[in-house]
Symmetry: C2
Subunit: 191 residues, 2 copies
C-alpha cells in the first residue's frame, strides 16, 4: 500500500492522543483511537468496555498475558488478531494517524509509517492527567506507573520490542519540555 | 547561565557530528567536538591521541573503566573531571552545539539544553562509515558494534543513564529514515 501513516506510541499522560488528533486535523486525515476499539468490539463480539481495557493494557501486567495459554490462545490473543486486521485495513483505506495499539509493529513492512513516540517526565504527566481525567482515589503518579507498566508489558509480549527505546521510532519527542504545539508542528513537518 | 545549548548524543556512523556541525553553522554558533578534545589534552597534559581514545570510548568496554580503581581515581576519572569543567566553561561562554562527551548529563541543572539523540539502523551506518571513514580490516558492522558498546558503557558508568532511551532526551531522530537534512531542520526549528 502507498498510504503514508503516522503511528503514535505514547506514555500515559504525555498528550500523545491529543497530539495525534491535532496532527490529523491539521493534515486533514483521520485519527484512529477509540474508533478502533469500537470496531474491534463490533467485529469480535466483546463488549466495548472490556475491549477498551484489554485492547492495549493487560489488566495485571505481564503474568496476566500468559493466563489461559495452557489451553491455546486466550481472549487477549484473539483480540490482538482482530486488532491487527483492523489496523491493516484502516491503513489500506488511506493516510491516517493511529494512536497506540502497537500500530507501528503491526504495519511493519506493510505501510510507509512515520513512527513517533511521545513521552514526558512523571511530574508533568501527573499534573496533566489530573487536569484531563480528574482526580481519582489512587495518586496520579501511581496511575501513571500502573498504566505504563501494562502498556510496556503488552508491547513487549506481542511485539518483542522494548517500549520507549529510540531505535524503534523515527522520532521521539518530550512533550513536557517541548510542549504539545511544538510536537504537533514537528510531526507535521516530518510527514 | 542563560545560554541555550544543543547537546547531541549519537550512535557511531549515524551522522550526529555532521548534523551538529551543520546546525551550528546555520545558527551561527560554535560546534565543539575535536576542539574539546584538544582543550582536554592541553589542560591535562595527556597526549591528544590518548585523550581522543579515552575521552569517550573506554578502550576495553565496561571492565576497563574499573581498572586502577583500587588505588583511587584512574586516568579516565581524571579526564572525566577535566572534561566536565571544560564543557561547563564552553556553555558559559555562549550558545553552542556540543557533540558527544555526555554533555547533556554534565550540563544538567546548569544550562538550558536541547538534548538530542541521533541514531540509525546498522545497515545505514555501516554503509555510511565506509563512505566517510573508509574501509578497514574489521567489518563496518563490527566497528560499529564495538564503538557503540564502548560509548554505552562509558555513558552508563559516568552518568548512570541508559544510552539511547527516549526519556533522556528532548528529541531523538532516526537519520537513516529521515535523512541528515531533515534532522538538521528539525533541530534548528526546536532550538
Amino acid at each position: 500500500m502507498n498510504n503514508r501513516i503516522i503511528t503514535i506510541s505514547r506514555e500515559f499522560g504525555s498528550g500523545g492522543r491529543t497530539i495525534g488528533k491535532e496532527v490529523a486535523k491539521e493534515l486533514g486525515i483521520p485519527c484512529y483511537d477509540s474508533q478502533i476499539i469500537a470496531e474491534i468490539a463490533e467485529k469480535s463480539g466483546f463488549a466495548p468496555d472490556y475491549v477498551e481495557k484489554t485492547g492495549e493494557n493487560s489488566s495485571g501486567g505481564f503474568l496476566s498475558l500468559l493466563s489461559g495459554r495452557a489451553f491455546g490462545p486466550n481472549n487477549g490473543d484473539y483480540l490482538w488478531q482482530v486488532q491487527c486486521k483492523i489496523i491493516v485495513k484502516l491503513a489500506e483505506e488511506g493516510p491516517c494517524v493511529i494512536v497506540g495499539r502497537c500500530a507501528d509493529y503491526v504495519l511493519r513492512g506493510k505501510a510507509d509509517c512515520l513512527k513517533v513516540f511521545i513521552h514526558a517526565d512523571l511530574a508533568y504527566r501527573a499534573d496533566r492527567i489530573v487536569k484531563v481525567y480528574g482526580e481519582k482515589d489512587e495518586s496520579p503518579e501511581q496511575r501513571i506507573k500502573d498504566k505504563d507498566r501494562r502498556r510496556a508489558a503488552y508491547h513487549r509480549f506481542y511485539t518483542d520490542m522494548k517500549w520507549g527505546r529510540a531505535e524503534n521510532y523515527d522520532v521521539t519527542l518530550n512533550s513536557g519540555t517541548l510542549g504539545i504545539d511544538k510536537c504537533v508542528r514537528i510531526i507535521k513537518e516530518l510527514y
